[in-house]
């Protein structure tokens, strides 16, 4: 028996287990998937939790519910990958041999990278919403918060779902308007980038949104530390932002195991070819999704498009053929803008988000780079699609390659 080993049973690992089990003969191939956690989180749903729109039970299901029969599941912590001997060594000292390996271990937030962030104010006045614990603690906090300085800070890039912090401040605006205390809440968005929007067309079309919503943008702010006594963010160039409630998007890293295995960059993101998805270090190791150092968004839609490419290229590798598929960096993301509306962006490595209609040119039903009610419903419907179609690796009417049809230059 040959073995395909998948590390990580999140979005990417689960989709690949489903796709590959359909293709690889059961009498020739063992497929094993490893993860340290048993719960699958619908991560796009975390954004909705602080505002009471979703609760914990809306975003959690057992991982095993989405894995097909005929795939071995091991819930254990991984120590490292030994690429030279084709073995994965587990924390308990046992090891698993593989013929092909897929790294799908995702990314994690590391608040400890920033001095003072996880200080005495952590989960009292300082919250993240990229973890279930942070999102639910913030929901509790908002229930009784009388208002004050609400500051969102992005500590560094890359981050998961780069539009989520934007959606967060726009949701916060709507939430406090509906609460009738918007006049008591100052909302600021601080980012190490040059602005909330950095791409020319998106800036032009959506740039005014934050201003209209009276959200204060603080660009080029690179966080050095959090001063818990003063309740202030401090940047490397010694600027300070006082807060009553800080919503942090902490520094992101790949799994520490990637670093221990010598397969990553300095932030532990696995180094892989951006088109073939093959590891830079070993030809029988492939990388999918947030775990990789791919220069595109860390987002579920990217994983979904990469899965089509990876399925083809993995079969090419197994059958000793040259790679036939090339990932173009395709990403497709809804952006919630509050008050029941949303925008949608579709882009790849070379093409910035452009206005137009999606997925059917001229028809839609979704509008690209514009605020519509339909886009908001798209995002809500997507949760169902995620659990029932996407994770199971079923066909969707959207090509893994980005198309210019329906886009306006």
């Amino acid at each position: 028996m040959k073995r395909l080993l998948i590390l990580g049973a999140g979005t990417g690992g689960t989709i690949m287990a489903n796709k590959m089990r359909k293709i690889l003969a059961r009498d020739e191939w063992d497929i094993t998937i490893v993860d340290q956690h048993k719960t699958h989180y619908y991560q796009p749903g975390f954004l909705f939790i602080p505002f009471g729109m979703y609760t914990r039970q809306d975003v959690v299901k057992p991982k095993t519910s989405f894995l097909p029969l005929g795939v071995n599941v091991i819930f254990q912590e991984i120590d490292r990958i030994d690429g030279a001997s084709n073995h994965v060594i587990m924390k308990d000292g046992t090891s698993l041999k593989y013929d092909y390996l897929i790294i799908a271990t995702g990314t994690r937030v590391v608040p400890d990278e920033t001095p003072g962030l996880k200080g005495p104010l952590w989960h009292k006045n300082v919250f993240d919403f990229y973890t279930i614990e942070g999102a639910t603690a913030l929901a509790e906090f908002f229930k009784t918060w009388p208002g004050g300085e609400l500051v969102l800070n992005i500590a560094d890039v890359p981050i998961k779902c780069p539009v989520a912090p934007l959606e967060f401040v726009m949701f916060a605006d709507a939430f406090f308007v509906e609460r009738g205390i918007r006049n008591k809440v100052n909302i600021s968005y601080s980012t190490p980038m040059s602005g909330a929007f950095t791409k020319p067309r998106a800036s032009k079309v959506l740039g005014a949104l934050l201003e209209e919503k009276n959200i204060n943008i603080i660009p080029d702010f690179y966080l050095e530390k959090v001063d818990n006594e003063k309740k202030a963010l401090v940047s490397y160039d010694e600027r300070e932002i006082p807060f009553d409630c800080l919503v942090t998007v902490p520094v992101h890293k790949g799994d520490a195991m990637i670093g221990r295995s010598g397969l990553g960059d300095e932030m532990d993101f696995a180094k892989a070819h951006k088109h073939t998805l093959q590891s830079d270090f070993f030809p029988n190791i492939f990388v999918i999704g947030d775990a990789g150092n791919f220069p595109t968004s860390k987002a579920g839609s990217v994983v979904h498009f990469q899965a089509d490419v990876l399925t083809e290229n993995l079969m090419c590798a197994i059958e000793n053929r040259p790679f036939t598929e090339s990932f173009d960096g395709h990403s497709n993301c809804y952006i919630e803008t509050g008050f029941g509306k949303g925008a949608l962006i579709d882009f790849n490595y070379d093409t910035e988000p452009l206005p137009g209609s999606f997925p059917f040119p001229g028809i839609g039903p979704f509008g690209l780079l514009k605020e519509t009610r339909m886009n908001h419903y798209g995002k809500l419907m997507f949760r169902w699609i995620y659990w029932h179609i996407l994770l199971k690796g079923k066909e969707m009417p959207i090509d893994s390659k980005m198309t210019m049809a329906g886009k306006k230059m």
């Binding site: 934007l166 950095t198 490397y236 960059d265 932030m267 993101f269 220069p295 990403s331």
Partner: protein, 103 residues
């Protein structure tokens, strides 16, 4: 796509003045771009620019943190060399694209 002339050499730049073809970059041009940003280039500046260009060519993520880990300067030192918005300014002078997000 527009063009800009530095010290008699014409290069392709975008609307914000960033090089669109990193291959057109030379150290002599960097000195001129830096002057426009109010910076007098030193060897330390050039070492940072070389590091960024090298990392960019490899397709790596470029962040202030990665410069801080480079062994050339720490983050405070990077701010000292390129005051205000070091990554943005250094990218412009290094002839590589401005760091951007997806939107």
């Amino acid at each position: 796509m527009s063009q800009k002339t530095f010290a008699g050499v014409t290069v392709d730049v975008n609307e914000e003045g960033y090089f669109t073809n990193p291959a057109q970059w030379t150290k002599e041009l960097a000195v001129e771009v830096a002057k426009e940003e109010g910076i007098q280039l030193t060897d330390k500046h050039l070492a940072v620019l070389d590091f960024l260009r090298e990392r960019f060519a490899k397709g790596d993520n470029l962040t202030i943190r990665s410069v801080g880990n480079s062994g050339i300067v720490d983050i405070k030192g990077f701010y000292g060399l390129f005051p205000g918005a070091p990554m943005k300014k250094a990218a412009k002078i290094a002839g590589i694209p401005k760091p951007s997000s997806c939107v």
